[in-house]
Symmetry: C2
Subunit: 245 residues, 2 copies
């Protein structure tokens, strides 16, 4: 279609990186590209911690469940939803801040998503690869302590950036008709479409160059959702001043 869309369509997560470094000026360009994304009511609530210290990197790799690329990537960023900055803005104008609303949690979290997706795509346009690290939420309290995050700041996910040392295949997504619906929600044809997609994904997993497996999407999802999902999250977020009402 065009270069931008082709870049998106060729996205794969990269988990092996070369030793090549990334100039800090390039990272700042990526950050500016990220900031250019829309931000709900101009809230600008995304703060990024760039982790350079080797011991901290190794510790974060372990806290994320043993993801060694967190330690190895040229750059590792932690995207934080930050309303501490807004507390400061309120203090600057002697206004009390009403915090703890679920709505604020949504806008602060989404801000990080929009920002990060621009960073990822901008990085890919420079020949870099990336992988999001949701695994930081496995041990979110320890991550928050390590990065000295104050109240109203929580680590949403990490992001590894570096020059790719692997070339994995693009993973097929759900058929468009499953994710795009007309005028109202209906799932009457979804099972048929998902069955066909399961077969497609099995072929992809069987043929890919690493981590070969035999599983469709629906089976994979059903096994994952049969378990608890990071049950510590709500109490952690409430302790940081989020999701209280």
């Amino acid at each position: 279609m065009n270069d931008v869309i082709n870049l998106m369509l060729s996205h794969r997560s990269i988990r092996k990186f070369t030793d090549q470094q990334i100039p800090q000026a390039n990272l700042e360009t990526l950050i500016k590209a990220g900031q250019s994304a829309a931000t709900s009511s101009f809230i600008q609530s995304c703060t990024i911690i760039q982790v350079n210290n080797c011991d901290k990197r190794a510790h974060l790799a372990e806290l994320a469940g043993g993801q060694n690329y967190v330690a190895q990537a040229a750059i590792f960023l932690v995207f934080c939803a930050d309303m501490q900055r807004h507390q400061l803005a309120c203090d600057m104008h002697q206004q009390p801040m009403q915090s703890g609303f679920t709505e604020q949690f949504i806008t602060a979290t989404l801000d990080c998503g929009l920002f990060a997706q621009n960073v990822v795509l901008a990085a890919e346009s420079l020949g870099l690869g990336s992988v999001y690290i949701g695994g930081l939420r496995n041990n979110i309290a320890q991550v928050g302590e390590l990065l000295q995050l104050p109240d109203l700041v929580y680590p949403v996910f990490g992001l590894c950036l570096g020059y790719p040392a692997q070339n994995p295949e693009v993973k097929p997504r759900l058929p468009v008709e499953v994710v795009l619906k007309q005028d109202c929600y209906t799932d009457e044809n979804d099972q048929t479409s998902i069955n066909a997609y399961d077969q497609q994904l099995k072929q992809y997993y069987a043929a890919r160059s690493s981590n070969v497996k035999q599983q469709g999407w629906s089976e994979q999802i059903s096994k994952m959702l049969n378990k608890e999902a990071r049950p510590h999250m709500l109490s952690y977020l409430q302790s940081k001043g989020y999701l209280q009402k």
Copy 2:
């Protein structure tokens, strides 16, 4: 830097559109570009309702607080966080699904953000303009009813797409040093940086071609956060099966 990054840096929300239509095949390309974004644990939990019906559009424009471009844009999409699809996947494999976890709310919501940001940028690469409509959450229950959203599906935001009939200025963002920190969180220089940014933003608001105002960022934020933020959100989301634990 390059065309992709320049496209990001030139982003502005567009709220006035021409009458020119967008071929459905182009929208499907945008959706595929959106799907190509990373998705936490391959969860693929974003579902989009394309609203074509004129009465529904007019109603949504009103529910969003009287944003008439919701009715006028060539395309209007509602991005929904959808775990109903995962309930179906679990049913297909006779696995009970454990739902209601805050972690699942985060991944489902973020999926919509990453997906949508790709759609926005892909649209801009085709000469389209866009604006996110968080205002749908003003009356989220009515939006959900209008779109017949089942349990485990909630409308995160809307998105208008169309050919721009305006050319607004790019709005300056916070200085990079405020949003990018090294190795740990610190805000010791933030107030100085925000003061300088407030002045920059006042100049932007005073000089821009429409909706001229006299306000810095910190003042704007302090006035917004002095009020409740959509206090109905938590009970609505819990009623849909989210944020229960």
